[in-house]
Subunit: 203 residues, 2 copies
Amino acid sequence: MRENAKDPERHARRMAAKQKVMQDRIARAQNEKGVLLVLTGPGKGKSSSGFGMVARALGHGMKVGVVQFIKGKFTTGEDTFFRDLPNVDYHVMGDGYTWDTQDRQKDVQAAEAAWEIASNMLKDPSYDMVLLDELNIALRYEYLDLDRVLDDLFNRPEMQHVTVTGRYAPKELIELADTVTEMKVVKHAFKDQGIKAQKGVEL
Amino acid sequence: MRENAKDPERHARRMAAKQKVMQDRIARAQNEKGVLLVLTGPGKGKSSSGFGMVARALGHGMKVGVVQFIKGKFTTGEDTFFRDLPNVDYHVMGDGYTWDTQDRQKDVQAAEAAWEIASNMLKDPSYDMVLLDELNIALRYEYLDLDRVLDDLFNRPEMQHVTVTGRYAPKELIELADTVTEMKVVKHAFKDQGIKAQKGVEL
């Protein structure tokens, strides 16, 4: 389904529209709008950074939606911490679902169900910020249609901030994004020194 | 005062001790220990990532100390969000202090007072994690003695995790760290497109 993403017409249309929107905005010299931020690359800190932004947004009284596109059912610290806070709408892909099978079709279904939730957030201006944690992984495995994802991101409410995390951000997403940070590994305790992965810290 | 940091004897002693500790640990194949994590580079997401780790640690029921080495007295979203949570001991350098002067000596004093607080956290095993936000900036301006900082980090409780953020991490700190991520700018809304910095999102 990645082929779709390379559909030159849709791409050109999206880019032309994006360019026009940007030019209009710059012309108006107003320049306050929702930002699409992508955190990618192999270094550690991508999801943490996304969740730090959630905390900051909550500190500003914003309403935040979180969808975690992670495979496997386990409890992360963020889950425990953010899940029941007011102003946070928190969803984990495959929640309550067993991932023990190696069934690609089930993975696709779970990813699509998660995107359904995300897609609704991206249509709802009451969400000031949406974190799509590890979305890039779902895209990498082609569990989701890239063009649908890009269209939903592009058509979101003007003031809504979105943060997308995960390695291997597709270049079309990088193109659409306003700000992109690539996390580079300078040193890695886990790999270089054989230190065990531990709760509470992202090694 | 940076000269001190290059004192080859202290450096060699620290590195030899570090190497021995690491070798012992690997030999014991135990490999569970506090991690010194450094988040540096020009890309966005360093502080957010540190605060995301704080949230995760809190989600695991850990006790966390935060010292923000930032110049200027203002309220960030993280401040509002984390400050009054149980299990968080939150300090901002120069809190209650006016930074309107261009007085280097006062900056040094404020940084040293903040390090005093950090240093006490780094001696107290009841803190499972310590976030030293923007410490690299205080080191960059040589507001703090690098060797004192490195010694305190090195001598901290064995199981304590520390995250240091900020551009321009000194190479001696990178050497001491277990995990280092460099945030690279791929695209930057603020710079590239003239979008105004906004509350709730780190552009």
